[in-house]
Structure formats: C-alpha cells, structure tokens
C-alpha cells in the first residue's frame, strides 16, 4: 500500500480536487493520499468528493489555515 503526498497549498478551487482525482486514478485500491490545502472551501468539498467518488476519508484536520485530509482509495 502506497501513501502519496499532495501539496495543494495556495491552489484555488477546483485545483485540489482535480489533483486528488488524478492521483486516485493512478493509485491502487487501498492506497492513501495525504493532501494539504489552504482553500477554505476544501473542508466541505473533500467530504462531498469522497462520498461521490466512493473513496474513504480517513482523517480531516485543520491547523493554522492548512486543511489536511487523508483519503484512501475505495
């Protein structure tokens, strides 16, 4: 199981979910991606994205304006 890191800080909507989508497309089921984002809309977006794309949101944290999500490919 691989873990990928995506730094999407400073990127505006829809950049982060597009990056994550591309990464997940290239990943195997069970692989995880850790994505860090500064776009404030991402917190709600990632929940909707995971629900729609059937990927698992493992964790979602926010620290000093940076939102970090860990997503496992379903």
């Amino acid at each position: 199981m691989a873990d990928y890191t995506l730094n999407c800080r400073g990127m505006q909507c829809p950049g982060p979910i597009m990056q994550l989508f591309q990464q997940m497309k290239a990943s195997q089921p069970g692989d995880t991606a850790t994505i860090s984002v500064t776009d404030m809309g991402f917190k709600k977006d990632i929940e909707a994205w995971c629900r729609k794309t059937k990927n698992e949101l493992v964790s979602l944290t926010e620290d000093a304006g940076v939102i970090t999500a860990v997503v496992r490919k379903g």
Partner: protein, 158 residues
C-alpha cells in the same frame, strides 16, 4: 438518466461567466462525471484561437469576426468592465490570488476529459469556421446537446 453525467450550455462569452462554467465543469469531471459543454452564441467566442486565422469570409462575417473577442484571453467582465479597467483589475487580483485564467481553466477541463461542442448554427451565423476554433472541439447541433442532456442529471445554462 445517469447520476454521472452533466451538461452545461455556455451561452455567455463573459469572463466571469466563462470562469464559473469552467470551474463547475472541471469540478464535475474531478468528481468522476462525464461532462459536455455546448458552446453557443457569445460563448462560441471562447473557443476561438487567439490568433487570426486566414479564412474566406464575406463582409458581414468578417465584421463580426473583428468585433467579437478572439478566444477566452480577450473575454471581458459582464459587470464593471469600465472600458477595460475593471477587467484588467480583476485579472490582476485573480493572478495575485493564484486563480487560473479562463484559458487555463478551459485547457485543464479538456485535459480532464470535458467534451467541448460548438453549436453549428451559431458558427454559421457568426461566420466562424472550424479552422478558427481551438483543438479538441467537436461541432454539433441542438440534437447533440439534447442527446447528452437527456442522459445527464444536471443541465446548466450559463
């Protein structure tokens, strides 16, 4: 009907509206959707190549060609354009805030597999030839749009 298909009619060629359409389109593609954009009327200008293409046109068609913006790069705001000042200010602010330009958004949308369809009737009326459009654009009519719209669960008109 499929939950995984979306269509947008891109009627407006305004910068702000084009951006909204492109962001929704790429976002939908990133959610795993098949997205079709149908460009008609003023929206067609967004698909034009930024450079002038040598094609035979009659006087009216040539005039239309000169008066309308060539490509997304030359699109202007629907409000506060103020003779170009407002649009320039908006573009500057968006650049400092790391927002993609409409051209970049369109390119990214195509990379994500969003389909671009140019309305053949608008092309005819405005005298726009297929050679004047950016790469990767298909040409179709209302039936093409309706065929996609029938199968989609979100259809927007922007």
């Amino acid at each position: 009907m499929s939950e995984n298909q979306k269509t947008i009619i891109v009627f407006s060629g305004d910068l702000d509206k084009a951006m909204a359409a492109m962001i929704i389109a790429s976002g939908a593609a990133a959610m795993g959707n098949e997205v079709t954009l149908f460009f008609t009327f003023w929206g067609l200008n967004l698909l034009r190549k930024p450079e002038s293409v040598k094609v035979k046109k009659n006087l009216l068609e040539a005039m239309f060609g000169w008066m309308m913006p060539r490509g997304a790069r030359r699109a202007t705001l629907s409000k506060m354009h103020m003779g170009g000042m407002g649009t320039a200010m908006m573009k500057y602010v968006m650049k400092t805030k790391n927002v993609n330009t409409p051209e970049e958004l369109m390119h990214n949308a195509q990379e994500m597999g969003v389909k671009f369809i140019a309305c053949s009737m608008s092309m005819d009326v405005m005298g726009i030839n297929p050679e004047e459009l950016i790469d990767g654009v298909e040409i179709g009519g209302v039936a093409t749009y309706l065929g996609s719209a029938d199968e989609a669960n979100v259809n927007l008109f922007i």
